[in-house]
Each structure stands twice: as C-alpha cells, then as structure tokens.
Amino acid sequence: MGFSTIHWYRYASPQAFYPLAGTLAPLFLAIAMGLGLIGLFIAFFVAPTDFQQGEAYRIIFIHVPAAWMSMFIYLVMACWGAVGLALNARLSFMMAQALAPTGAMFTLVALVTGALWGKPMWGAWWVWDARLTSELILLFLYLGAMALHSAVDEPRRADKAFAVFALVGAINVPIIYFSVKWWNTLHQGASISLTKAPAMAAVMLWGMLILALACWAYSIGAAMLRVRCIIAEREREASWMNEMREAE
C-alpha cells in the first residue's frame, strides 16, 4: 500500500487512533529503553571527568534533557490545544491532556536534579537563577492546567479551558524567562553568577543528545499509554469500545 493511499486523517478519530496508540506505545518505550542504556553508558563510562566540576557534572546528563523535554512538551501540548480549538478535534484535546503529567514530571526532575547539582557546585540547593526560576514557574503552569482540567466536570469544557490556559501559558513562558533574567541583572549582588560552561566535549554533547532522544521516545510512549486510558474512560459507553475489549 502506497503512502498516498492511506488516509492519515482517519487517525484523527479516537476510535481509529486507539489501536494505533496501543501498538506505538511499546515500540517507543522500547526505543527509549535502548537509547537510554546507550546514553547512560556514554554518561558514565565514555565521557571523561570534567576538570572543573569533577564527577558531579554527570548529573547534567539527565538535568539538561529533562529541562529540554519539560519546555518542549509544554510547547507540543499548547500546539495540540491550539489544533483542538481550531478544528474542534477531540483527539487533539486528549493528546494535550495526555502530555501534561509527563511534562510536569520532567519539570520536577529538572528542578530536583538542578538542586542536586547546585548544592556541590554553588553551595546552595536553590539559586534564583533565571533558568531555575522559569522552570519552577513552568511547573506551576503545568499544575494549574491540570488542576483546571480536573476541576471542570463537563469534559468538553474542561478540554477547551485546558487548551486556552495552555496557550496563554505558552505565550507567557518566554516573557517570564526574560523578566526573571532582567530581574537577575538588577539584583546582581544577591545572585551567584553562573560559571560559563566551557566548550563542551563532543562526547558529552552526544551523550546528552542521545539521552534527550530517549526522553523524547519515553514521552511519546507514556503519552500514548495515557491517551489510551483517556479514550477508554471517555468512550466507555461507545459500542466500538466494548467490541474492541471483547476482541482483545
């Protein structure tokens, strides 16, 4: 079957997407597992010791991919929300909703590993650095969006409200980042200036990229699993759901 003969937009309906998500989820989780193992091998055995930071810099291998993913997932989530609002497509809302907990988890991981890296490097668990502060606010935005969705009883309204808030937040994130950066320059005395990262060894960058890809594959896998749960909960009454359950 040629590419053009498959009706790709067929998968825009939850009914058609449900089995597809079921096959994609283990696939992406397996990719994540494989890439993760390669990345960890590079992080611990191939990458040399950093002459400035010692071995503590190995935390960066998860901190940076987690921070990247936290922002990337928020963006993707807002995009799904926008698509949902523009086309009134239910599956888009479900995808946006499925991504939120994974994004919040990565934000939390980035914050915690950032603190664990900061303690030996800066001598403090928490520094009001622009990046850390923006990450904290990003976590608030994730939690707010999720709280909004769970507080609204009617699913269609909850979906749309979630999408509107995610979009407003997406516009705000760069503004927040810029404002915190500006604020840091204002209070120079109180903040610890970041040691500028020395030219990163190529192997470090590779390790980070591979682990970021692993996180990316993991996020897709987890989102697919969650979107299946969401579809199953929403379409409980639909006949196709019962047929599919019997077929499985």
Binding site: G144, A147, A151, A161, F165, S179
Partner: protein, 222 residues
C-alpha cells in the same frame, strides 16, 4: 455600539457603588497586608526601604486577585452574562469594557492609596512617584490577565483557589518589572527600564488579553 458599551461600563460601575463592601474589603486587605510586614520583619528603616517595593507590589497583586471573581461571577449567577454575550457587539469589546470597569474599581484605588502606604516603608519621594507610576501601568495588566483566569474558572467548584493557582504564575512578569522599577529607583538607578517594559507588556495585554478572555468565556458558557 459605543453607546451600548458606555452603558455597560456605567452599569458595572454602579453595581460596584451599590455593593461597596466587596471593593472596600479588597482595599482594606491591601492596607492590612502591607501593615503586617513591618510587624513581621522588624521596623528598621533600612530594612523596610529594601523590602518596601516588593511588599507593596505583592500586596497589590493579591488584593487585585481577591476581587477577580467579582468580574463575571455575579453576572453569571443571575443570568445577565448570557444576555451580555448576545449583545450585537463583539464579545472581545464587552470583555474589555468589563475589565476596564474592574480596573477602575479595584486597580485605580490601589494606585491612589499606594503612595500613602509607601510612607510606612520610609520610601523617598521619587521612589513613591515611581511606585505610583508602576502601579498605574501594572494594575490594568493584573485586571486583564485576571479576566482570562476569571472566565476560565467561571462557575467551577473551588473556583477561588483555582483562580489564584492559574493567575499568580502569569502575574510574575508584572510583579518583577513593577517592583524592580521601584527598587531600582530606591537604589539610585534609573527606573525607566522596568517602567518601559511594563508599558510594553500593557500594550500586549490590551491587545491580546480581552481576546483570550472572550474565548475563555465562550468555552465556559457553552
């Protein structure tokens, strides 16, 4: 169309005048909250001068937030909000006018009161002027961003706390630029950086926030 919007503005203002207690309570909160800080952190003039701008701004922000659910909730409860949505006027403009009315009754009193409370924190004359100016630019933004949150949480159970959780992170840039301008002035630096950024945000907010709030309102009333 203009006459209709003017009518709406007048109506909203009159409603607040008749139900004075809500607006006055938010204002009292502002006064009480700022007065608590010297009792908490100590009354050293140097310390108060250092924390004053931040305290006044945070208190103004919380006070503006307290009155947000007044924006749509009462009209929603008595059904008049659905009539307003049906007006032959773009909903964005209706929302903008209601936000303006909210600012006139909650933000503007804060602006007028702030220099007086600034004296409690031993702020100098130029810092007080910058404080007033920054609040004048910043409080409309608080109403504009808050309108989006108020529209999203309309009629939701536990809406008050949820509104705070949604809106406070979005308020952060306003707080940073506003308080930053005042403390820059207090430290003998130019406040114009913060003030101009606040002005830029205000322009952005005036253009986009009513649009987003109208979209949120449509979602909530569907």
């Amino acid at each position: 169309m203009n006459a209709m919007l003017r009518c709406l503005l007048w109506r909203d203002l009159q409603l607040v005048v008749r139900r004075k207690s809500d607006a006055v309570a938010a204002l009292f909160f502002f006064i009480i909250a700022t007065s608590l800080f010297p009792l908490g952190v100590g009354s050293e003039p140097a310390l108060l001068r250092a924390v004053g701008p931040g305290v006044l701004w945070v208190a103004a922000l919380l006070s503006a937030m307290l009155s947000l659910n007044r924006l749509f909730a009462a009209d929603h409860a008595d059904g008049s909000l659905e009539q307003l949505v049906l007006m032959p006027v773009p909903l964005t403009l209706t929302v903008a006018v209601k936000t303006l009315a909210h600012w006139l009754t909650s933000g503007l009193p804060l602006v007028l009161l702030a220099p007086l409370l600034g004296l409690q924190f031993d702020l100098a004359g130029d810092a007080l002027a910058v404080l007033t100016l920054s609040l004048l630019l910043g409080t409309p933004l608080l109403s504009l961003i808050g309108a989006i949150g108020a529209a999203l949480t309309l009629g939701v159970r536990g809406g008050g706390v949820l509104l705070a959780v949604l809106v406070l992170p979005l308020y952060i840039p306003v707080l940073i630029f506003g308080a930053g301008a005042v403390s820059a002035c207090a430290h003998g630096m130019s406040p114009w950086g913060g003030l101009s950024l606040l002005g830029a945000l205000l322009v952005l907010g005036v253009v986009f926030a009513p649009f987003a709030a109208a979209a949120a309102l449509r979602v909530s009333l569907e």
